[in-house]
Amino acid sequence: MHSLWLIAKHEYLKIVQKKSFLVGTLWMPAMIIIVMVVSILATLGQRGSLPLGYVDYTGLLRDTVTLPSGEDGRAPVAIQALPDEDAARAALEAGEIQAYYVVPADYVQSGNVQLVYLNRRPGEVAQDDFRSFLCANLLVEHPADIQQRMVEGASITFRSSDGSQEIESGNVLDFMVPYITTFFFIFAVMNSGSYMLQAITDEKENRTIEVLATSVRPGELIGGKAVGLMSVGLTQLGIWLLTGVLALFVASFFMTEVQEVRIPWALLGVVALFFLPAYALTAGMMTAVGGMVSDLRQGQQITGILNMFFVLPLFFITLIMAKPNSPLIVALTLFPTTAFVTITMRWAVTTVPLWQLGLSWVLLVASATASVRVATRIFRLGMLHYGQSLRVKTLITLLRTERP
């Protein structure tokens, strides 16, 4: 058992110290940070610090109308009446306002308004503020709550076709997280699978495997590699998760939409439960392939096909959205290689029944355990046939006849 942990530690350090791992792991947080910074900068720049001016030829608009706070919770842009277009132009050129609107006399009939600016058009948020200002003026005779409703718009709830899943418009994470998780999982599985395959074929090619085989049991060797690989997966997941949470935390100071976001803990719990056995299953499958082939290139051809078994649910994405509880989708939920991706994608549109989650998890754990065990035997048999690739037919015969 001690050797298993030594091998796990060795594999873990070997992979996390690789440049390809660092690049593969850190590009995601880097992207999140870049997107977050750009979003915050964009939000901050949307309103501008200078007031917006307007020249009103309708006689309907009044400065005294108070605008409700914007969706981001910040004070709306200051809006300043100007007597005529000459005065407005002078104020604009003097840098006293960022732009001005000309509201023509037939505005109520035509809805046309002209925006005049120098070099930089006011941001979307500032323009929204002026639209709200117009709206509030038109509704000045109505009660404040009606004004508020008109300015804020409707709060939409998304409901799946079978009625089993509801998502409020403010909580986009409910919808986004399953898809983001699916993407992460596929990326992580393919990454780790290739690490495992490379580790095994490298050891076969450089004969390190002979030294290892004369030091530890095959089970400890493969188990150690699987644990090491799972730790790598957890590290990757942890870094991504931590960056995501930190990004949301920081963004919440600048964007009120983010404050309303609820982290879908239930889904994250399911992800945590399914992630490790799914990783172990991958590790077992890749070890088996590594044990069978004589070089990396040959192995990569086979793993390309095996990876398809993990990404298969993506081909049924339309069906998952439309009929998330159809028999085929339930079958994909229960099938070990497709379970993770199917469950996370279904999560966005329906409530996955508890019995399906439980059965799927049990099947996944059982197949992961079996895959590591069979992989250990295949690996051992592959060693016995050193330098030669094992054909599937030969392999089956050997699995039946060779003593473990």
Partner: protein, 305 residues
């Protein structure tokens, strides 16, 4: 009591019979040579000893029993082609391999320093293995084999890639291990490199035992079958001579079984234009003996056929 006992082991890969009915015993404290040309079946035999391959037939025992996980820690194995991670640094690699053999990290680190110094590798401890020369990698592999202080060392072609100075160093270390009572099984195809080191040998050709026993006794048995001659003239195609090699003005003649050296002398003297300056019954090298044995077997086979 034997350290290793190999009894009638056989191994085939498809239609190729790599090892056929090979048997030998290795005793504690001896340096044992597993000799033979390339492709003779030496490495396959070693892999069967270490349970990397399972024999199709026959039996192997180590330390008077089957190879167990506990016994693995008493064995140091150096494969023919270097078994080190190319893309890892030297020191962590060697420490990792030593810890797998039951050594704790602190002890492994402490021992490693002196070995690196002895093999002149201390300046390369933080270098990646792939950046080391072939000879350095061979030395590093030897350290990996020795670091956990095993009772049995199995080294496959230990001198491959080493310069004469390092070959001397490795021979000295093997001699020290013998003096410490360790058992060493050494495989080599260049027999002259190991014959002085080995107490006993088994000679394998085409997967079969062709010679087995104490080196001194084998040499005594085959003495008289080789001649060293110096002089002028043609010393080839002499009756009863299996092979005649000319090197630096000296002829080495390998005689067939039962051939009398005096008959060879008389045959030389009968030749025209021959001037004999030296005629000596030589102690045969293991290579000479190997050639004799193999050619004898071929002659017997041809006669039988």
């Amino acid at each position: 009591m034997t350290t290793v006992q190999v009894s009638h082991v056989s191994k085939s890969f498809g239609n190729v019979k790599a090892v056929q009915d090979v048997s030998f015993e290795v005793y504690p404290g001896e340096v044992f040579g597993l000799l033979g040309p390339n492709g003779a079946g030496k490495t396959t035999t070693i892999r069967m000893i270490l349970d990397i391959f399972r024999p199709d037939g026959g039996e192997v025992t180590i330390f008077d029993g089957k190879l167990t996980e506990e016994k693995k820690n008493r064995i140091g194995y150096m494969p023919e082609e270097r078994g080190l991670y190319k893309d890892l640094k030297l020191e962590p690699t060697l420490i990792f391999l030593a810890t797998l053999k039951g050594l704790d990290e602190a002890t492994a680190r402490a021992r490693l320093g002196s070995w690196l110094e002895r093999f002149d590798l201390q300046d390369y401890r933080q270098q990646k293995v792939q950046n080391l020369s072939k000879g350095m990698q061979q030395k590093a592999q030897l350290i990996a084999t020795l670091l956990h202080d095993p009772d049995l060392l199995v080294v496959d072609e230990p001198f491959a890639g080493l310069d004469p100075l390092n070959t001397r160093l490795v021979k000295d270390i093997i001699e020290e291990l013998r003096q410490q009572g360790k058992t060493v099984i050494m495989s080599a195809h260049q027999m002259h490199q190991v014959e002085a080191l080995c107490n006993r040998i088994v000679l394998i050709d085409h997967g079969r035992n062709v010679l087995y026993g104490e080196v001194d006794k084998i040499k005594r048995d085959f003495a008289g079958n080789a001649l060293t001659i110096e002089g002028q003239g043609d010393f080839t195609n002499l009756p009863g001579v299996l092979e005649a090699r000319h090197h630096n003005g000296t002829w080495s003649l390998t005689l067939g079984t039962g051939v009398d050296s005096q008959d060879v002398l008389r045959a030389i003297m009968r030749r025209d234009g021959v001037k004999l300056e030296r005629f000596e019954i030589a102690e045969p090298s293991l290579e000479d003996i190997f050639v004799t044995v193999v050619q004898r077997a071929e002659q017997e086979e041809a006669t039988y056929a």
